[in-house]
Amino acid sequence: MKKQLMKGNEAIVKSAILAGCRAFYGYPITPASEIAEAAAEFMPKTGGVYVQAESEVAACNMLYGAASAGVRAMSASSGPGISLMQEGISYMAGAELPCVIADITRSGPGLGNLGAEQSDYHQVVKCGGHGNYRTIVLAPHSVQEMADLTALAFDLADRYRNPVMVMADGFIGQMMEPVEFPQTATRPHLPSWAVAGTAASRGNLITSLYLDFDELEKHSRALEAKYKLAEQREARAEEWLAGDAEIVLVGYGIVGRILKSVTAQARAEGLKVGVLRPITLYPFPVVQFERLAFNAKLFVVVEMSNGQMIEDVKLALNGSRPVEFLNRMGGNVPSHEEVLRFVHELARREGLAQQISDRQSSGKQTQNEERMAHV
């Protein structure tokens, strides 16, 4: 199949429309703005709705409205905007409304800067809003996955009647790669619970309000059962040369890509290194961790945050293997060279690699530090 070069942010919108999304509520923010721009161009051409909201608070509540009306709807933002959307996400989870929100992450806290970080993990994966709820979180690491996982996100949102987040760092949003799309489009049917302004849907009610304590507890237990089902069925991860790996590198998004290039070189040097890349951050791919722990001596978590996913890795391994950590922040990316150096150090410490000479691991330290220019 023929491919075309496209930005990740643009691929999200095109995939969403093919998946039947017909409403987009946006608010500009770097590095997610191309999503709103593409939606503004293509939604009206495909019979959909585009509104630039007055804030992310409003945008997310517009999503609540569109989802209530039974329409596949989405929004997109980045850290500061996702913070503002937490209210609406909590309400949608409570009212069991499906929607898709893309978070093209940048650096924080506060205004931070525009460089890519993975520091939204806590607020997105652990849920920054109030109440007993979860959101399913998908983490693409390529432009093709931006397209594929966005389509999957709409299916999961409908299946579980719950918000689904597509969380990608600014690199994945901004980069261009070859991508292919399905050549057919979907038109989802109107859900029976929707409030659509029709005689058939007149008796329907969308609310997250349960005044009675017992009723709210029952509702929360029903939500919990739904999430448990998702945990059993929807966890996904990519294992890359990981089957016999003694050192398992763990990272998602752009970090997953860097870990693959590190692994390629480490394997060439004779080190048994592999990559476990979570594709769903919730549900977390616990089973894959348990399986790889049979052969692995240790796991290495690499993140562009202060260590947010590492908590889930430790929970998944439950103390069975040591977990090492390497991170960069502020818009900096762990470079191929610095991750490789870290792997060399660990391999030596664990007695896995006598063949790694000092020359290989210690050279060019400061020279090759990768520092993306964020003007």
């Binding site: 070069l5 608070v57 509540n61 609540y64 409205g65 569109a66 009306a69 008796g203 220019a373």
Partner: protein, 494 residues
């Protein structure tokens, strides 16, 4: 009153059909509302239900409930019901009305909800001219939470959070006149403030509410009715005292009247909009890939056969310069040409705020194998369009790699063993060809010649896809050819 006693009266106006006969969503006392005696909500609910009945839109109506005493609209209204977060009903209504253009969407909100926490949502829904009806119930306090001050609290009025009476001198501001404020906007169609202070006022309120719903049925646009409404419980008054307080006190701060009426002028526009919508049906599903520009048959064939299968390809290119020098385009042409030639590619830009005097750089990888990391930390070709960019990245170039530098004087301290340098004033070369802005393409030509991988047919195809202006395509093609020559000349000179 027993059923028998009721039967002795003639029912002049029965319960509206748009109310449930029995309020089964309530857990108890399903024959009556949850409102206190003398509360205005009951009256307003009745007027609204009567308007829905009279306009014959019960099936089409969606009621958006607020947070506050009005939260339980879904107990009573036999219509589609959605309960919204505090203050956000206009945002929810916006989306529902736009996605379901046949529906009649009513946002029912109190003064804490609408004028405080939801002040942004109401302002912008009004300013966009959403075709919705807003019923704004103003009783000058937060009632459900126990009587705290609202933006609408009167001067001197005591509340649990203005215990000494609201005072601007104490930094508590003035009563917010929402209707007057929204009437300054150009989009709204109809804004009126009514009261429940006596029977005459109530009759006018009923007319206004019906009109606001009717405006939406006619597709005219945004209507808002502010209703001054008694709250005997929080005001600590009897129902009769509270009703009189609306008329005798509240109305002095919030005068009744029509603040905006564009119903006449909006009629023809509404008809035009309806006609335009009917004339533009939703595209067929089968057409979507084409509309989105992703239909396979519309994508170019490419020149995948032009590269020998045994030739190894591993271009790791870093391009850097000032914003405006065409750094990103240079990289895009390279990546697009790689794809055209059937190779795996990635293009990754640095990005930042759109502002002057910024620098810009991008990473391009072109490979036979799938690209693992799109970040190029050790390029085999660095294209540096100015000295700061050279100094930023020159040390990262791998041994055996090339630096293409835009400047005839290559800084001696940047020279490194094992790294080749092509330093020329590419800007001057481009200027001599007709436009110095083509310097990026001259440098691209040199990079292509150095790499010696990509067929010119792919480069030309990429250029035509990315550069829309034919004059520029022609100049860029010449610039690339010139860059190739310059590299060959430099080799000959050595």
């Amino acid at each position: 009153m027993s059923d028998q006693a009721v039967a002795e009266y003639t029912v002049a106006r029965g319960k509206a059909k748009s109310f449930y006969p029995r309020y089964e969503r309530k857990s108890e006392l399903q024959h009556q509302t949850h409102f206190c005696p003398g509360c205005g909500h009951g009256n307003i609910h009745k007027m609204l239900a009567a308007a829905i009945d009279e306009l014959g839109v019960q099936d089409r109506t969606i009621m958006i409930g607020p947070v506050g005493c009005g939260v339980f609209t879904y107990y009573y209204f036999d219509v589609g019901n959605v309960q919204a977060a505090h203050g956000r009903a206009p945002a929810v209504a916006t989306a529902m009305r736009r996605s379901r253009p046949e529906s009649i969407v009513i946002s029912y909100q109190g003064d804490g909800d609408l004028s405080a926490i939801g002040s942004a949502e109401i302002l912008h829904a009004a300013n966009r001219g959403e075709n919705i009806t807003v019923i704004f119930v103003n009783n000058a306090v937060y009632s459900m939470t126990g009587g705290q001050a609202a933006p609408t609290t009167l001067l001197g009025q005591k509340s649990t959070t203005t215990p000494n009476g609201r005072s601007p001198a104490a930094g508590e501001g003035y009563p917010l006149h929402v209707s007057e404020l929204l009437a300054t906007l150009e989009a709204p169609v109809y804004i009126e403030r009514v009261g429940l202070g006596d029977n005459k006022q109530i009759a006018q309120a009923a007319r206004a509410i019906k009109r606001a719903v009717e405006n939406q049925v006619r597709g005219l646009g945004f209507s808002l009715i502010e209703v001054l409404s008694p709250c005997p419980t929080i005001w600590k008054q009897t129902p009769v005292e509270a009703q009189h307080w609306v008329r005798d006190v509240m109305e002095k701060t919030f005068p009744l009247g029509v603040f905006c009426d564009r119903t006449k002028e909006r009629g023809p526009q509404a008809l035009e909009r309806l006609a335009a919508r009917a004339a533009q049906p939703e595209p067929a599903l089968a057409d979507l890939p084409r509309i989105l520009g992703v239909a396979e048959e519309d994508l170019p064939e490419g020149h995948a056969h032009a590269i020998a299968p045994e030739q190894t390809v591993d271009m790791q290119v870093r391009i850097a310069g000032f914003g405006g020098q065409g750094v990103l385009l240079l990289g895009e042409v390279l990546a697009e040409a790689g794809l055209d030639a059937g190779l795996e590619v990635s293009w990754l830009p640095s990005y930042g705020p759109e502002m002057r005097s910024g620098t810009s750089n991008c990473h391009v990888r072109i490979s036979r194998e799938a690209v693992d990391s799109p970040l190029v930390s050790a390029p085999n070709v660095l294209v540096a369009m100015n000295e700061p960019s050279l100094r930023k990245f020159d040390k990262s170039v791998r041994a055996g790699g090339w630096v293409i530098y835009n400047g005839s004087e290559f800084p001696s301290d940047c020279r490194r063993e094992g790294v080749h340098v092509l330093a020329l004033s590419f800007t001057e070369m481009a200027d001599a060809m007709g436009d110095k802005r083509a310097a990026n393409m001259v440098m691209l030509g040199a990079a292509l010649e150095i790499a010696g991988v990509l067929p010119q047919a792919s480069v030309a195809a990429a250029l035509r896809r990315l550069v829309k202006n034919p004059r520029w395509v022609e100049l860029d093609e010449r610039a690339i050819a010139r860059g190739r020559e310059l590299f060959k000349e430099s080799l000959a000179a050595v």
